[in-house]
């Protein structure tokens, strides 16, 4: 156990979250957007772990596990949707599939 200031851990979480946000806003490939979503979820979990380590409680890790299950379910559904979109449209460009006419 090392004594990291709470702010530094939260700064790291914020930096990772911002990088993920930039990835979502900047990239137009659906795979990269899903990966950026994973980065953001992971940064959120890091914030929970940092807070749980600061006060020595187990709740941080419990919420990290909930985020982990959420990320797993979201990735499974998201990747299935990506396969479906690629089969229908033949591309993963988010700009070219922006018209969802069904």
């Amino acid at each position: 156990m090392i004594s990291i200031p709470l702010e530094h851990g939260l700064y790291l979480a914020a930096a990772l979250f911002l990088l993920g946000l930039m990835g979502i806003l900047g990239r137009r490939n659906l795979i990269f957007m899903l990966m950026s979503l994973e980065i953001m979820l992971n940064a959120t979990g890091l914030a929970f772990i940092v807070a749980g380590a600061r006060w020595g409680e187990a709740e941080g890790q419990i919420f990290f596990m909930l985020i982990l299950t959420l990320a797993a379910a979201e990735v499974a559904i998201g990747l299935a949707l990506i396969l479906l979109i690629y089969r229908h449209f033949g591309t993963l460009d988010a700009d070219r599939i922006s018209e969802m006419r069904g």
Partner: protein, 168 residues
């Protein structure tokens, strides 16, 4: 001692920045795995070994393998052989290799020098997490299980190849 946290944070930020700037999905996946491993090392340093193990097993293992499978399914055709030849060149894995080598050095250092890390106060043990999870947070565990089941059924339904036409 605190320098290990900052080195791991540096590796995490560098590899995450490389994820969102790569053009090839497989390169980005390699960097993302390195990023998740460094975050797992940070969890370990912060006294959360159970979360670190879960991060390596589920994030860097299971979820990234899902990504790799989908990328493999999307890149069919004879173009993929040329691509695979290009993937065997060292400039693909030299960056993630260097970053994960830094992580390996750091992990060895932590395991060798700081032997008291595993028995010091301030660490939240897996036993404590399990007691809390199946005590006051039992409903949350049930909800997570139902979410995973819904994700499984939904992904199967979406990913299934539909029939050509319904004989209606």
């Amino acid at each position: 001692m605190e320098i290990t946290f900052y080195i791991a944070a540096f590796v995490a930020i560098i590899s995450t920045a490389m994820v969102i700037t790569q053009l090839n999905p497989v390169h980005a996946l390699l960097y993302l795995i390195v990023s998740l491993l460094s975050v797992a090392l940070i969890f370990f340093l912060l006294g959360a070994p159970f979360a670190a193990a879960l991060e390596v097993l589920i994030y860097a293992g299971a979820i990234m393998v899902l990504f790799v499978f989908v990328v493999m399914m999307l890149n069919l055709g004879e173009k993929s052989i040329v691509q695979e030849n290009r993937w065997l060149t060292p400039n693909m894995w030299i960056g993630p290799g260097i970053l994960s080598f830094i992580l390996l050095i750091e992990l060895i250092y932590v395991l060798e020098k700081e032997n008291s890390l595993l028995s010091s106060a301030g660490m939240v043990e897996p036993q404590q997490v399990g007691r809390a999870l199946f005590g006051p947070y039992l409903l949350a565990a049930e909800l997570a299980a139902m979410l995973l089941l819904a994700g499984l059924v939904g992904a199967y339904h979406l990913g299934r190849r539909e029939q050509e036409e319904d004989p209606e």
